[in-house]
């Protein structure tokens, strides 16, 4: 049978997401230069991971093919973003 996750887990994840939202909003007031976007994206990725792992049950999926589908999706997204940006960023080097 499917794994049933307790309401306590959902409320904990929700509290973490709310705290991280307040954190990312608060640090946007600080001038961290180029690091501010890096920090904002790190926090967003932590939040996104919590959503995918717990709310979307990715942590509890027992069908390996489904995990493969999920990982392939994000892997393809990484190819799109990283390879295109590696082109743009290195154009000025010549």
């Amino acid at each position: 049978m499917e794994k049933i996750i307790s309401a306590k887990v959902y409320f904990t994840v929700w509290a973490a997401l709310m705290c991280l939202t307040v954190t990312t909003a608060a640090v946007s007031y600080l001038d961290l230069g180029a690091f501010s976007i890096v920090l904002a994206l790190i926090i967003a990725t932590v939040k996104g991971s919590l959503v995918v792992l717990f709310f979307m049950h990715a942590k509890y999926i027992n069908v390996k093919a489904t995990l493969l589908v999920i990982l392939a999706g994000f892997f393809w997204l990484a190819i799109l973003l990283l390879m295109t940006m590696s082109d743009y960023i290195t154009r000025a080097w010549s």
Partner: protein
């Protein structure tokens, strides 16, 4: 819900599956395949955003300062709360608690409507401030042509996201209606789970839109 067992019978194990577990596994895998196409759909727009931000960094900072920081932040919280109620709706039907499921789905719809209302207020303000791209676009600061490009991406990305929220309201409403008709139980609730996956995905997209649009130039506004 008196004839619920009768309604349930039509949804029991389909003949091409071995058992309920295999059926529900196939169902969520199918939903994830669809969500991967959604990742690529939004991924293209994120790609455009990144490339333009790299080329026109100053314009991106300028444009971001004209976002409504508070509406963006409150809307982030609204979507996170809606994700919680959606997750609780799925939990409730896993436990066979139909009434609680309906309540949680209804709250989720309310949060979604609140999100769209706030988004609408925001769009209206941008419109009045001549920040909607096109012939009426006006920007007094530096590099107005590329600030306009920032607003193009802002409206396209948040517009498609808002469309997904709207579709989500329709989807969750349909699930709510079906639940009221007694279609789901502790044994069978794949559509509720899949609607949940869709809704959390919409939340996931916004989790990235929020810092990229609202926060990147915020500290300069002081």
């Amino acid at each position: 819900m008196s004839n619920s067992s009768e309604a349930l019978a039509t949804h029991e194990l389909r003949h091409h599956f071995e058992n309920m577990e295999q059926q529900s596994g196939a169902s969520s895998m199918g939903m994830w395949v669809f969500l991967v196409t959604e990742i690529m759909f939004f991924g293209g727009m994120f790609m455009a955003y990144l490339a333009y931000r790299y080329e026109y960094f100053v314009a991106w900072q300028e444009g971001s300062q004209h976002m409504d920081f508070w509406i963006g932040t409150v809307n982030t919280a609204v979507l996170i709360c809606s994700s919680l109620t959606m997750a609780l709706a799925v939990l409730a039907i896993q436990q066979g608690r139909r009434r609680l499921t309906s309540i949680m789905l209804s709250i989720t719809i309310c949060f979604a409507i609140a999100f769209l209302v706030l988004k609408g207020i925001e769009y209206h303000r941008h419109w009045l401030a001549h920040e909607f791209p096109g012939s009426a676009f006006h920007f007094a600061g530096v590099d107005p042509r590329h600030v306009e490009m920032f607003f193009v991406l802002y409206f396209v990305m948040t517009g498609f996201h808002a469309l997904h929220v709207l579709i989500g309201i329709g989807l969750v409403s349909t699930i709510l209606y079906m639940n009221q008709r007694g279609h789901f139980s502790a044994d069978y609730h794949n559509p509720v789970e899949n609607a949940g996956l869709y809704w959390h995905f919409v939340d996931l997209v916004w989790i990235y839109l929020y810092p990229l649009l609202y926060l990147i130039g915020h500290h300069h506004a002081g």
